[in-house]
Symmetry: C2
Subunit: 423 residues, 2 copies
């Protein structure tokens, strides 16, 4: 291997995974039978890592191993193995705060930078389900619960400063993965850069308009600044429909390797942006006009339920568990004090809402004009049809970023999306 | 000693300091002669540490050693020795970014938690000079330079994220000293607490009014929240006139043990608040009415020069050294881009201005109603005269916090101070 790696590290292969797991008694028990009988498949379709599914007679596990480079690009783009440890530690926090909403963490190997965790089955990546127009009736509620629990209890509202600063210290070194976000989301799409690509020539004018849009770039600069310095809570850092696995009734969040102390709106907004982008893509998947109208309506209802559910749960946690050091309870005693505190809570949530809209917009732009694109759009084979969807997506994204303060509530966002994204 | 300390740690005394320094060749050379001839005096008048001045035939040094408890209170309030290391590292950063504005760092002893640094002479603590109505014509310019340089170059405007996150990791564990600020500045004065004290009974009504002032407490809660989670730059953390030593022409900043990644306005505002509080105290020191009017006018001119100088230098650094990752230069090319960026810079400075006014106000309140008071006021022997000054100080402080957005500029603050603080 051209890239230097720590002593003992080696990339696992389908033939070596079983030997690795056989040395772990709890995992061995879980799988059952003899290691030689375990079935191993490498299924990593992400950009960065190896992922193995291992099935034994009695159970199965998933093994995720970091590679010392970006898998999507190759060894020319090295990437530190330490990210696996950040992922493991974030997974433990999420598992504690939102049990049942992440795969159960089973083991971390310090030498191989490999995480062993529950294998999710029959879950699929939610993005694939949405391309197939699958409705997930429990998704909004379950993901709202995940976001509210993980974000509230790692914020200064729900966690004492002494604990929160330990998280800050622990995740501050996750510099490389933050830098990927800083560059690919907040920087490259708004300038000429060799990593950018878009449906060309159809969107050449739209890409140029965005590069020349100074009010947009001013607003994006503020979102980037907030990403760089607002340590609001331990965020997942990459919460989109490709980091969520679902069944008809269950929702699980995976892949928290981008975790760091950042703005709450970054998680909420990235997910909202991915829902809106899926909505924008739906006309491109229609075999006859209007075929996906009901599904688009479901997405926009889900968007509203997601925000409203998140807000309601977050506020409820704040009222019931004011265990952080912000907003000292002793300052807001009695009915008048409670009213004043509730007003402060509402203003806090309003700011989160506007932040979320901004981050939603940046996600929608980067997946249209930047390096990494979404299968939602990429699977639309006809470039003219795809470009039409992407152009509407860009128009809505710009509004969310520049006009965030003008949206009265999430229903107003859904109303606007209905108009702008109409096929 | 009742409190457990690391192996090898012992509190230094006037008789043991020389032996400690004699083992350091560079310090020995600097002092000259034989250690037995060095003259040692313990002069710590702060709340937390031992401070020794050591004079030899050829030169002198200052030794500052952390005690494992709050000196002001005693062993009943333990405090970690690690703060000496945070102070040392912050001092190194400040010395690099603002050379000549801090004492020269000479040595850090890892076992004794002792800093050896340049002895400042004939400098005195600025607060003492201001109680004596001494004018410092260079102060505003020199402190503006210190603040602009240290704060700009450790912010996301002037420092790349990878470096800034190292500072974040390094200073996140400075939890105990941050907690002192969180409690004593942002929490205790706004509730009943045994640590609080004020000039009583004269200010009993004013203290109660502040405890019951919900709009004020809402605004203070936001300032506390920002202190808890906005990692804007490496702040000194305790920048008041008791942490500044001056001569007629020279300004030096000492004691950065509270350093952490926090809001820029906390440093600027704490200093502004201390200037305004000194201004408020001046009538209490008059032997005849109006005797200190000219000095009050100097303070308010200094306040304006300080803010204006800080703003101008900070903006100039931003224009010339955009070495951070925020506001990517490539997004704002050409004359139109530069105009848009300059507008963004102005909005950023306006936010810093409002933050600073808020933090100024919280400093003025905590030093009137909380645990630690200022000699500016405490040296006014007559409690009625003192209370009259303190009452005006509280009135202005509240306006700065609640009405920060209403002040057009620093001149408007000075105008208002002139009216509210008039004796």
């Amino acid at each position: 291997m051209a890239i230097a790696t720590p002593q003992g590290y080696r990339a696992l292969g389908e033939t070596t995974v079983a030997a690795f797991l056989a040395r772990l008694p709890e995992i061995r028990d879980r799988l059952g039978g003899e290691p030689a009988a375990w079935r191993v498949r490498e299924v990593g379709d992400g950009n960065l890592n190896l992922v193995f599914l291992v099935e034994g007679p009695e159970g199965s596990v998933c093994v995720k191993q970091a590679l010392p480079y970006v898998r999507l690009v190759g060894e020319s783009w090295p990437l530190g193995l330490e990210r696996a440890r950040f992922e493991w530690e974030a997974l433990l926090v999420e598992h504690r705060l939102a049990p049942g909403r992440v795969p159960e963490p089973l083991h971390f190997d310090e030498t191989l930078y490999a995480i062993v965790m529950e294998r999710l089955a029959p879950h699929i990546i939610m993005r694939k389900g949405m391309i197939a127009a699958t409705v997930y009736p429990n998704f909004a509620e379950q993901i709202a619960e995940f976001m509210a629990n993980t974000l509230y209890f790692t914020s200064d509202l729900g966690m004492p400063a002494a604990q929160k600063k330990k998280l800050l210290e622990r995740f501050a070194p996750n510099v490389e993965l933050c830098k990927i976000t800083e560059d690919l989301i907040f920087t490259d799409p708004y300038m000429e850069h060799e990593r950018n690509r878009w449906t060309s020539p159809q969107l050449d004018d739209a890409a140029r308009a965005i590069r020349e849009d100074l009010p947009l770039k001013q607003a994006v600069a503020l979102l980037k600044l907030k990403f760089l310095c607002e340590a609001q809570a331990l965020v997942h850092g990459d919460l989109h429909t490709g980091s969520i696995m679902v069944t008809a009734t269950d929702t699980r969040v995976i892949d928290p390797e981008f975790a760091f102390l950042g703005p709450i709106g970054f998680d909420v907004g990235k997910l909202m942006g991915n829902l809106l982008m899926s909505c924008a893509s739906q006309p491109g998947h229609e075999r006859r006009p209007g075929e996906r109208a009901d599904y688009q309506a479901w997405i926009l209802r889900t968007l509203q339920e997601l925000w409203n559910g998140f807000e309601q749960r977050f506020l409820e946690l704040w009222r019931r568990h004011p265990e952080g050091d912000a907003f000292p309870r002793a300052h807001f005693l009695g009915p008048e004090g409670e009213r004043a505190l509730e007003a402060a809570r509402r203003r806090y949530m309003r700011q989160l809402f506007e932040d979320s809209l901004g981050y939603a917009g940046t996600s929608m732009i980067r997946r249209t004009l930047g390096l990494a694109h979404n299968a939602d759009m990429e699977t639309i084979a006809d470039p003219d049809r795809r470009a039409a969807c992407e152009r509407r997506n860009l128009a809505l994204a710009r509004e969310l970023i520049v006009e965030a303060r003008q949206f009265a509530d999430i229903a107003a966002v859904a109303d606007r999306a209905r108009i702008v994204l109409a096929g």
